[in-house]
């Protein structure tokens, strides 16, 4: 006998997956533990003054968001529907990814600023060293000719 069941199913395409509600127990535990660990590590780094307060903020927010989403499965479902995911776990990962991207972008902006400051500082160091050299040379020259120091005309106009 021919069975049309499998063929029909194929024609209909894959069955729509059932939306999963909240995180499964195990994943929930992992997410909660992870967020608390993250929080503790960030606090510890700030305590040891290895992390500046301003940089800790985004990390704290990430840990907090992870915790809230892990506990509040209704909120996680909202996020899941918002990003069009099926599994709440994917939604959680997606959220984490977005946070990390923002963090990296923030770092790139900081780096650009630091690079500029570094360059300016180095340029000034080079100019100041040159000025010191020429002041010393001038001083050496005047010391040899007279014992009177010249009154500060060594700098360039």
């Amino acid at each position: 006998m021919l069975s049309f069941g499998p063929i029909l199913q194929e024609l209909q395409g894959p069955t729509l997956p059932k939306l999963v509600d909240g995180l499964p127990g195990h994943q929930k535990t992992v997410a909660i533990v992870l967020s608390i660990a993250m929080f503790l590590v960030v606090v510890e780094l700030v305590r040891k003054r290895k992390l500046r307060e301003e940089y800790s903020l985004v990390w704290m927010l990430t840990a907090f968001a992870l915790l809230v989403l892990a506990i509040q499965h209704r909120l996680l479902n909202v996020v899941r529907d918002l990003v069009g995911a099926v599994e709440p776990t994917s939604a959680l990962f997606f959220g984490a990814l977005v946070f990390l991207m923002l963090l990296s972008l923030q770092f790139s902006v900081r780096l650009s600023k630091l690079t500029f400051r570094n360059r300016t500082l180095s340029q000034r160091v080079a100019l100041l060293e040159d000025e010191i050299d020429s002041l010393r040379a001038d001083k050496g020259a005047t010391d040899r000719t007279t014992s009177e120091p010249r009154d500060g005309d060594a700098g360039a106009a």
């Binding site: 500029f116 570094n118 360059r119 300016t120 180095s122 340029q123 000034r124 160091v125 080079a126 100019l127 060293e129 040159d130 000025e131 020429s134 700098g155 360039a156 106009a157």
Partner: protein
Amino acid sequence: MSGPRDRIHSVVVIVPARNEAERIGAVLDGIRRAAPGARVAVIDDGSDDDTGAVARAHGAQVLRHPFNLGYGAALQTGYHWALRQRFTRLVQLDADGQHDPASIPSLLAALDAGAQLVLGSRYLDPATTPRTTLARRIGSRFFAFVVSRWTGTRITDPTSGYQAMDRRVVERLALDDFPEDFPDSDVLIALAREGVRLAEVQVRMRERLGGVSMHRGGRIAYYAYKMLLTLSLLPVRRSSPFRAGRELARAGAD
């Protein structure tokens, strides 16, 4: 025919250099011959060799970056140094011997003829065009076309680091938005937009005496990307949020 001596005295020459100890001596001697009386500063961009000592031995003033900052940053340190001197015209050329200092007078002549920024071109005379790779030729042609169209001046060699400029242009380039890596096409267009008169003269270029070109490999791809980005943002870009260069330029101008 040669200009009066006080005019030569009003020339400063800046030479950005990195690890050019073997080549910079000859370059500095050439500058001395072509522009006697000009003050010469070498900007040692964090060299590992004796570039600074050799430059000093050949009578140049040496400004040393504590570490490598890039070609553009070295030029800019030179601009800041120059603004602390009395000068009316500045010449910049590379330390690797590609730019023949004998062409300095023709660059200065073009300044005297009314230009504010003069480029020494390798390509103005097709007979002397150096051999390069196809990718570089295409890129070079493309940017030459863009710069010529945008500035309204025929520019054949926008990447040329062999330049002469008047004090006002130096003051402009001392500002913070001067790029630290490849200061060429975008800078030329920005200057032309601000009303700076550009010109180009044919210069003699020699084969590199050694060392390696800045424009090679992945750097060319990055160069193309960077230029396209800066050029397309040029009309809408904000000026630099930093003011360090502006202060330095002002301090020098006083």
